[in-house]
């Protein structure tokens, strides 16, 4: 570890301490905001495994998130305590992504992207139509945490933070180790990666499972936090698209890129939300468009965007 590595880690530590202190200030809005930042950080770090390091454009984030949310909510509704329900949701999401990954990771590029979107849609439809179990379009209520809104706010902030930190630890392990090296090789040239002795199928599956695992856990915590979920809210196409954008904003395939991207994006989004309520979608869309043109490498790798200079030619 270099000095720069320690410095960045230190900065992160400061940020985490800051977040831990927020509930003390008593500002509910700030607590909510930080909880969102932590939650999206977990999802962004999760996406980063498969979309960043491995280079597979996954839009399945919402599928895992929603799955975790529903599993967590259902378990809690049947009397399982909150944290064990989250752990169960984590295991189910991991299992699901492992199984699905074995199938769709055979696809590449556009077809993989489309397959991953289809996952979101299929799960959403299942949640909508399986009324007996999931409540269908009416959604599911989840038992609220006793102790009052202030206390609950703090618990969920700390929980999301913990999930995000676990995801970060996993990213650290991947980034510095063989898996990360191998995934980078796969991203740059999968055939050569296989040739050089990398079990590409296994590495991709691990990355995909890691992404499913953390998204699912965040989803379960989300369900407990907001105490009410429905299919469109959890299996949300906008979410599944925002997360990769956040990661790309900060720098995909890097350790801190996802975190930077999440913070910048959410700050931007909050600013707009308060100023342009009716135009919220349009302005968000404009941000995304601008992002694509001006920051193709992310904020961590600022350089003049080739796409803009050459007008689309390679």
């Amino acid at each position: 570890m270099t000095r720069a590595d320690f410095a960045k880690l230190g900065l992160l530590g400061l940020g985490v301490l800051g977040m831990l202190a927020v509930p003390v200030l008593g500002d509910n809005y700030l607590v909510r905001l930080c909880t969102f930042v932590a939650m999206y950080s977990a999802m962004a770090l999760a996406w980063n495994f498969i979309g960043g390091y491995a280079g597979y454009p996954s839009f399945a984030t919402a599928a895992f998130f929603g799955l975790g949310a529903y599993v967590g909510a259902l378990l809690q509704n049947h009397g399982v305590p909150m944290v064990p329900a989250w752990i169960a949701a984590m295991l189910v999401s991991a299992g699901f992504s492992l199984a699905v990954g074995a199938m769709i990771l055979r696809l590449r590029g556009h077809y993989f992207a489309v397959g991953s979107i289809a996952l979101v849609e299929i799960l959403r439809q299942v949640a909508s139509t399986w009324r007996d179990v999931t409540g269908g379009g009416n959604g599911l209520n989840v038992p609220m945490l006793p102790g009052g809104p202030g206390f609950a706010g703090m618990v969920f902030l700390y929980s999301m933070l913990a999930i995000a930190l676990l995801a970060f630890a996993a990213t650290l392990w991947v980034d510095k180790g063989r898996l990360g090296f191998g995934l980078r090789c796969i991203r740059q040239n999968e055939d050569a990666a296989n040739m050089v002795g990398i079990d590409a199928d296994r590495y991709k599956t691990i990355a995909f499972t890691l992404s499913g695992l953390f998204c699912g856990t965040a989803g379960a915590a989300y369900a407990s936090w907001v105490a009410y979920i429905d299919p469109s809210d959890t299996f949300n196409i906008l979410t599944t698209l925002k997360v990769p954008v956040m990661v790309m904003l900060g720098g995909a395939g890097t350790l801190y890129g996802p975190l930077i991207g999440v913070i910048v994006f959410i700050v931007l989004e909050e600013t707009i939300w308060s100023s342009f309520l009716e135009l919220h979608q349009a302005v968000l869309g404009t941000i995304i468009v601008i992002l694509v043109f001006f920051l193709p490498g992310g904020l961590l790798k600022l350089r003049l965007p080739a796409a803009l200079l050459s007008g689309g030619r390679r």
């Binding site: 696809l107 439809q125 869309g285 468009v289 689309g312």
Partner: protein, 285 residues
């Protein structure tokens, strides 16, 4: 009952083919997944609605006008914005068109409001024995098939059409032969928008529509493309008919609410077994 289900499926299928063919062309030729396609369709439906409300023109006859407007818009959009990312990986192109779609969607909600509309023209029904065939749907399907057929002939016989096919097969070779690839890209995108607008005109009569339905149409287009194959009219046709028939039968056997799930499951099955679709040749990565 079986015949009725089959006919319903074919009618639906014809519409699906028309909905998807523009999307398929853009994906196949430009290698761009256009997330705005559903919104183009809804926009076409709204334009047809207002043309009818203001000038009394039947949506079927509004197709050239509405389609033309969308063609122009699509051409400019592609040339000005989308062309810049045509070479980029799917993550970037999909995210870009999604962002643009958010803008368009917002504009439609603000401009047209979210209440569902429909051009209510009672065109009566045809009855064959036990089967009931609403004329508006049959006419819409016929027109959908006609437009799809016209597109097919355009691609096969006209200079522009053949240039599009050439670019689809090998962009660099086409450029070397003197084809202005950027112009062709924009024309293709414009054609995709035209077909979407035309589909919108047809839908305006048949179903109530609102901005909230953009995702539904886009989803159908996705499934049809994967099932039928990219970038070809026959592919969209086969995919559309297959989807329509399968949905119709699923609706009859399992209940209408499951029809959509079945469509997506079908898509995943095909992605895993035959990603290039029932008719497709070389797929795009």
């Amino acid at each position: 009952m079986d015949m009725q289900t089959l006919i319903n499926g074919l009618v639906l299928g014809g519409l699906y083919a028309c909905i998807a063919v523009g999307f398929s062309l853009v994906w196949g030729v430009l290698n761009v997944i256009n997330m705005m396609h559903g919104s183009f369709i809804v926009l076409g439906a709204y334009l047809a609605y207002y043309v009818f409300a203001i000038a009394g023109i039947h949506p079927f006859f509004a197709v050239p006008l509405v389609g033309g407007l969308l063609f122009a818009g699509g051409y400019l959009l592609q040339r000005g914005v989308i062309n810049r990312v045509v070479d980029q990986p799917v993550l970037i192109t999909l995210v870009l068109t999604f962002g643009l779609d958010m803008i368009l969607y917002n504009a439609m909600v603000l401009g047209f409001s979210a209440t569902p509309r429909r051009v209510a023209l009672d065109m009566g029904v045809l009855e064959f024995g036990t089967m009931v065939l609403p004329v508006d749907r049959i006419a819409a399907m016929a027109l959908a098939l006609l437009l799809t057929g016209l597109l097919y002939f355009l691609l096969r016989s006209s200079r522009v059409g053949r240039a599009i096919v050439a670019v689809r097969m090998d962009r660099e070779a086409a450029a070397l032969m003197g084809i202005r690839v950027e112009h062709i890209y924009a024309v293709t995108f414009g054609l995709g928008a035209f077909m979407a607008g035309a589909a919108g005109c047809l839908i305006a009569i048949v179903y109530p529509f609102s901005p909230a339905m953009t995702g539904l149409f886009l989803g159908k287009a996705f499934v049809v493309c994967v099932v039928g194959g990219l970038g070809s009219v026959p592919g969209a046709l086969v995919g559309g008919l297959v989807l329509g028939i399968i949905e119709s039968y699923s609706g009859a056997w399992l209940g209408p609410q499951h029809a959509i799930t079945v469509g997506f499951v079908l898509m995943i099955l095909l992605l895993l077994t035959r990603p290039t679709g029932l008719m497709g040749k070389v797929g795009y990565e």
